[in-house]
Subunit: 203 residues, 2 copies
C-alpha cells in the first residue's frame, strides 16, 4: 500500500496524481490517497512562504513545471486565476472518499485536471458540483458536504495525521515507512518498489 | 559546459560533487564549479530557514541523505560537529581555482569528503591546510588567501552572480539555460544531456 499525500493547490501534486496509479499498478500496489493542506504544514508549522511566492524559487518552479509535466507526458497549464482555495475541493474529496470510495480517485484526478490542465477555478463550488455530476455523484449533496462538520473534522484529522507523520510537502509517497517527497522522485519510488532496499547502486 | 553550483555546507551538494564529473564526462561535457553561499540565498534573499533547522523537513533530510547517498554508492556520514562555517573553505576554493585551476575540482571534492564522509570540520583552517598540502598546494599561501581581499571579492561576485541567475539551492546544474536543482535530479540532467529536449516521455 502506497500512501499518497496531495493538496489540490499544489501543481506538483497534480503531476503525482496523474502518475501514481499506473506506477503502483505496475508493481501490484494499491494507493491510499490522503488529502493534506500545505497552508497548514508549510506556512503554519514550518514557517515558510508558499512555494510560488518564495523569491528565486518561485521563478524556478514556473519554469520547471511545464518541462517536468512534458517529460511525464502530462498536459499542464498554469491557470490565470492562480492558486485555488484548496479547502472546498479537499472537503469535497473527503466526502466522496467517505460515501463513494470507488469513485474517489477518479474524482481527485478530475479536480486536479480541472485546475492544472483546464484552468478552471476549483475553489468555485459550481465547478466542483459539475465535476461530481460528471461522475454520477450527487451535486446537491456535495454542496452540503463541503460545509458539513463531519467532513471538516475528517479533513482536520487527515492534516493532523500527516503532520504527526512528518509529511511536509506534496506530493509525498510513503511505502514500507519510506517517505519519498516530490514529483521529481518517482524514479526513487520505483526503485524502492522494484528493489525494496537502497543498496543497489544507480548507474 | 555544465555550471555546477555548490556550497560546502550542503550535504546534497556533496552528493552532486561526487557524481557530476563522471556524468558530464560520459556526455563529453566540461564542468564549471561555482561556489555559492546558501546562507545568503536561502536566509537573506528567500527568507527561509536553513534546511536542517526547518521543522518537519529537517527530519526528512536526516533520513533521506543516507539513503540517497547509498543509492548513488557514495560514503556518507553526518558529522557530530554539525554544519561547518562554509566561508573559509569557499574562499580557499576560490584561491585554488584562481591560482591552480587544474587542481580545483580535486580540492573541492577533498573538502566535501572531509566534511561529509570523514566527519572533519572544514571550518578549521588546519584541516583546509592539510587538504591543500595533500594535493601539493602551498598551505601557508592558503592561510593568507582565506582572508585576502581578492578572494573575498571573488566569492562575493560569484554569490551575487548566482543570485542574479536565480540560483537558490545546492546543488544546481545549469546547461543550455536549463536550471536543474537537486541531487535527486541527476536523472533529469542526464535526460537533457542525452535528448536536449523535454519532449521524450519517460517510461
Amino acid at each position: 500500500m502506497i500512501d499518497f499525500y496531495f493538496d489540490f493547490i499544489s501543481p506538483y501534486s497534480y503531476i503525482g496524481a496523474m502518475k501514481i496509479e499506473a506506477l503502483a499498478a505496475k508493481h501490484g500496489e494499491e494507493v491510499n490517497w490522503r488529502p493534506i493542506l500545505l497552508g497548514v504544514s508549510i506556512m503554519k508549522t514550518m514557517g515558510l512562504k508558499p512555494l510560488l511566492d518564495t523569491p528565486l524559487k518561485g521563478e524556478y518552479v514556473r519554469q520547471d513545471l511545464p518541462r517536468l509535466a512534458s517529460l511525464y507526458n502530462i498536459p499542464f497549464a498554469f491557470p490565470e486565476h492562480g492558486l485555488p482555495n484548496p479547502i472546498p475541493p479537499a472537503r469535497a474529496y473527503c466526502w466522496v472518499k467517505r460515501t463513494a470510495p470507488q469513485k474517489a480517485t477518479e474524482f481527485a484526478q478530475a479536480v486536479f485536471s480541472a485546475q492544472w490542465r483546464d484552468e478552471r477555478d476549483i475553489s468555485n463550488e459550481k465547478v466542483l458540483v459539475k465535476l461530481a455530476r460528471d461522475l454520477g455523484l450527487d451535486g446537491e449533496a456535495l454542496l452540503i458536504a463541503i460545509n458539513s462538520d463531519d467532513n471538516k473534522e475528517y479533513l482536520k484529522k487527515e492534516v493532523a495525521d500527516s503532520l504527526a507523520k512528518n509529511i511536509f510537502g506534496g506530493p509525498t509517497f510513503v511505502i514500507d515507512e519510506q517517505v519519498i517527497w516530490g514529483a521529481d522522485r518517482l524514479w526513487m519510488l520505483e526503485h524502492w518498489l522494484t528493489q525494496k532496499n537502497w543498496q543497489q547502486t544507480l548507474t
